[in-house]
């Protein structure tokens, strides 16, 4: 089978003050099979924009140009907004960083999940939709799904909210899930749970996962393959298990500036950015 996602030479630019354009993503090419692909980089390196461009949810004032962008054989470059709309939710899903801002605050989480189900299948009877919603809450390891079903988002903890979001996204069983910093707002203990849920979904349902994060260690443990981005370009693409053999000075710099529990107490090495990293790769 061919790749699930193919992107070639993606550029995303935003207008700056003097009327010109600043490239935020510059020539990103990647392919994704049914695997876990990690994208790491600092704020502003273009990792989230890449995910959003693929989903087609960039603001209209962003200038996008791409040679090829395909999802499961569908050419996204020439696809109509209507077709792309029909892909979102059903076949491509996205999990955002902060559940506080991504759930509807005046609707119980159960209703929100039911709504997601009904958008996909308008003829499903209410009782079945509710059963399905309760099932998905259980699948994302929420204890007492019946009780949580009728809670409002502000009554949930961060970890629970994030799991509800994941449930809402995977209830339609998308083929591709883009997770944009899904665990950054969570505690380490909850993070492990959320990751194991995502892992289970990828393995069992054969989803493709794009995992956007700035946490190198996390990505190297969790993903199959890692792409490192800097200033809108891919500087390195490496097997996750071999991340610690990375050769690019930027990747090495990111790895070495992390404190370790049993690391040295000398001042941490700081990243010295070199102009050449942002140049032609």
């Amino acid at each position: 089978m061919s790749d699930l996602v193919q992107i070639e030479n993606l550029h995303v630019a935003f207008r700056n003050d003097d009327g010109g354009y600043n490239d935020a993503v510059r020539g990103v090419s990647l392919t994704l099979g049914r695997e876990k692909l990690g994208i790491v980089g600092e704020s502003g390196s273009g990792k989230s924009l890449t995910g959003r461009a693929l989903l087609g949810v960039l603001p209209p004032y962003a200038r996008i140009s791409v040679d090829t962008m395909a999802f499961d054989g569908i050419d996204l470059k020439s696809a109509s907004p209507k077709l792309r709309r029909s892909l979102r939710g059903g076949r491509m899903g996205m999990i955002l960083q902060d559940p506080k801002f991504s759930l509807n605050p005046v609707m119980t989480v159960g209703k929100q999940i039911v709504e997601a189900i009904r958008i996909g299948d308008r003829r499903i009877p209410g009782s079945d939709a509710k059963k399905k919603a309760l099932g998905i809450l259980e699948a994302v390891h929420i204890r007492e799904p019946e009780r949580v079903f009728s809670l409002y988002p502000h009554e949930l903890s961060g970890g629970m909210g994030q799991r509800v979001m994941i449930g809402m996204m995977v209830v339609r069983e998308p083929d591709l899930l883009i997770a944009d910093e899904p665990t950054s707002a969570l505690d380490v203990t909850v993070r492990t749970q959320v990751l194991s849920i995502l892992d289970e979904l990828v393995t069992r349902r054969g989803m493709g996962l794009i995992f956007i994060s700035h946490d190198l260690n996390l990505v190297s443990k969790f993903c199959d393959r890692v792409i490192v981005m800097y200033a809108g370009r891919i500087v390195e693409s490496i097997e996750a298990s071999r991340l610690h053999e990375a050769t690019h000075p930027y990747t090495r710099g990111l790895l070495s500036c992390l404190p370790q529990i049993d690391g040295s107490l000398e001042p941490l090495p700081v990243l010295n950015r070199e102009a050449s990293w942002a140049g032609a790769a």
Partner: protein, 239 residues
């Protein structure tokens, strides 16, 4: 420098901190670790007088915080918050924000001291006319640190000082904090959920869960694995 005895903090009938005691020596760096809702930030906020309903004892540098007027307390202890995007006033230039505590306390020559502070935290005096939105997250956190240092406090309370920042910027801020502690002889209490950061920054740490302390460890105990409680072991395994 800081002594907390049998502290209870209550929010609408629910205890957010239960029967917690610890002491921090002058010059020491003490870490508080635990999951969200375990009460670690609440302790810092209570020390600063930001919570009204508490009982127990809190003494900072030998004086009872209940009996110390706020202005005087502010000269001894200052706090740096997690999110540099919301802890700075969006419409004040940063020089003004750093000078504000000095003006309130009638300290002479706030302008010169502001410039000195900006040099100290590695931004340079030319930054004083910038607005917060013109700075990156790491630069804003430096400004928040400079403002906290304006009154030359002895004790700095740091609530997740780097968790909103990129790892590369985190290293810069941690190095800055360590340098300042050495140069100015400060005492730190650092709240973090990242054990690696705490292990790097703190000589001693207390693990909290469900509003209560689980155990207190030295850095050596943490590193050598001389840990008693299962919860701490789970935290380390997850890190």
């Amino acid at each position: 420098m800081l002594a907390i005895g049998n502290l209870n903090v209550e929010f609408s009938g629910k205890l957010a901190v239960r029967d917690t005691s610890f002491a921090v020596q002058p010059g020491e760096s003490f870490g508080l670790v635990g999951e969200s809702g375990s009460g670690k930030s609440t302790i810092l906020r209570t020390v600063m007088g930001l919570n009204a309903t508490w009982n127990g004892s809190i003494t900072v540098d030998g004086t009872d915080v209940r009996k110390t007027p706020r202005k005087q307390l502010a000269k001894v202890v200052q706090m740096v918050f997690q999110d540099p995007y919301s802890s700075l006033h969006p419409r004040y230039v940063i020089g003004q924000q750093i000078a504000e505590p000095m003006k309130i306390n009638g300290i002479a020559n706030p302008e010169r001291r502001t410039a000195e502070l900006l040099e100290l935290i590695g931004l340079g005096a030319k930054f004083q006319f910038r607005f917060p939105h013109e700075l990156s997250g790491g630069q804003r956190q430096r400004v928040a640190i400079a403002r906290a240092l304006a009154l030359s406090p002895k004790l700095l309370l740091l609530d997740e000082p780097t968790s909103a920042l990129d790892v590369s910027i985190q290293a810069e801020i941690l190095n800055l904090l360590n340098r300042l502690r050495k140069e100015l002889g400060l005492t730190f209490v650092i709240v973090s959920h990242d054990l690696a950061v705490i292990s790097y920054m703190c000589e001693r740490l207390m693990v909290m869960r469900n509003a209560q302390p689980v155990e207190t460890l030295t850095r050596e105990q943490l590193r050598s694995g001389a840990i008693v409680e299962d919860y701490t072991k789970a935290l380390i395994a997850a890190a």
